[in-house]
């Protein structure tokens, strides 16, 4: 057959595309279970790191069952409802109007004390950022925090995921008497119980963290005010 002719070119491209598509479909399908498990284990690890439990991908499932005693879903009025908190896709809920969102709550027990772990989700500089905030039983004092991001600048905004940044949150308070203030990420010289230091060179990401925490805590506010 003429290698430069139209028929040959057309057939060649059709066969090539079909073969490549089939190959990619096979690869994707056969790796999917492993990938999903990685994602779930990562989520468990992330939730656990908000309560200062370092877990590896292999032990995540076991540690998660050991520490997380209870999980439930609340709505924007703070009413508890049935549902599996772990399976809720926070990013998917974020796209819904605020009053229709399902808000997961994980209740952990660390050294006999109850901790509430709440997911947060918002926008950084380049893409979404998310994390988990663990509150003490008073639903006011922060016990721990975890943040992650999809594409913040390495060495700058990406530093929100480091312990250097997240360790500052421990002991901070989200309420000023009964007024919800959240946690403020400030430029240098953080003081008081509501402020943490931002990241130099990562101001926009730092501000993203601040508004993410503020807005998510406000969705949870009715739940947090039930004492």
């Amino acid at each position: 057959m003429d290698r430069q002719g139209n028929t040959y070119t057309l057939l060649y491209s059709i066969i090539l595309v079909v073969v490549v598509a089939a190959l990619l479909a096979v690869v994707s399908l056969s790796l999917q279970p492993l990938q999903n498990e990685n994602k779930q284990n990562e989520k468990r690890q992330n939730i656990l790191s908000a309560i200062h439990v370092t877990s590896s991908a292999e032990t995540a499932s076991k540690d998660f069952n050991q520490y997380i005693k209870e999980q439930y879903v609340v709505n924007s009025k703070g009413e508890q409802s049935e549902g599996d908190a772990f399976d809720i896709d926070v990013a998917g809920e974020y796209a819904k109007p605020a009053d229709q969102r399902q808000l997961p709550v994980f209740v952990a027990e660390v050294d006999g004390a109850k901790k509430y772990i709440l997911p947060v989700y918002g926008a950084g500089l380049w893409g979404p950022i998310w994390g988990y905030i663990a509150l003490n039983e008073d639903k006011n004092t922060v016990f721990g925090a975890f943040f992650d991001h999809s594409g913040e600048t390495p060495g700058l905004g990406a530093e929100i995921a480091t312990p250097h940044f997240t360790d500052q949150f421990q002991g901070k308070e989200i309420f000023d008497n009964t007024q919800l203030v959240g946690l403020l990420v400030v430029k240098g010289g953080a003081n008081g119980v509501h402020e943490v230091d931002g990241i130099s060179g990562g101001t926009l990401t730092s501000k993203g963290v601040e508004s993410m925490i503020k807005s998510y805590l406000s969705y949870y506010e009715p739940f947090l005010k039930q004492r």
Binding site: V20, L34, E42
Partner: protein
Amino acid sequence: MSLFSGKNLDYLLGPLSRNNPVLVQILGICSTLAVTVKLENALVMGLSVTAVTAFSNVILSLLRNTIPNRIRIIVQLVVVAALVIIVDQVLKAYAYEVSKQLSVYVGLIITNCIIMGRIEAFALANKPWPSLLDGIGNGLGYTIILAIMGFFRELLGSGTLLGHSVIPQGWYAANGGGYMNNGLMIMPAASLILVGLIIWAHRAKNKDLIEK
């Protein structure tokens, strides 16, 4: 002809220095600037690119006599894109941590000029075995430059190497010392300066590469 005859060895080792894709051909500069803030990212990126150049060179070398000339570039792109997707999927399944570190840059391997450059310039005119050596050689040549830059940028910019602190904490200005991390090093501008310095040093050693 033996597998590692002089000519074949030259395909593998030439790109490491004398014919380095980054230093001599100035290809792949975009990702060289983007992913070298941390040494680990630079290394994994370099190895992923090496895997893709090696496999795409072999596959296209095998197909070289069947490809219709008019859709040559499209065929190359389809093969490279498929390989990059497979690399991305495999990393997600078996090296999840690393794939998270590299995030968007894995997808951007498709746009790496070195890959298309080697396919066009070499794989389409040579047998599979030399093409494989050429792909690995060029991938490693790229990896070396990334590693050198990642080393200096992470050391001077963050005071760490592969995530471990190497500058003693007591040296820092905050702890009473007189040392500060160089913030410029984590900016893209620093990599442009660094790559310039590396090219300077490389040309100074290989005088015949200096353009008239």
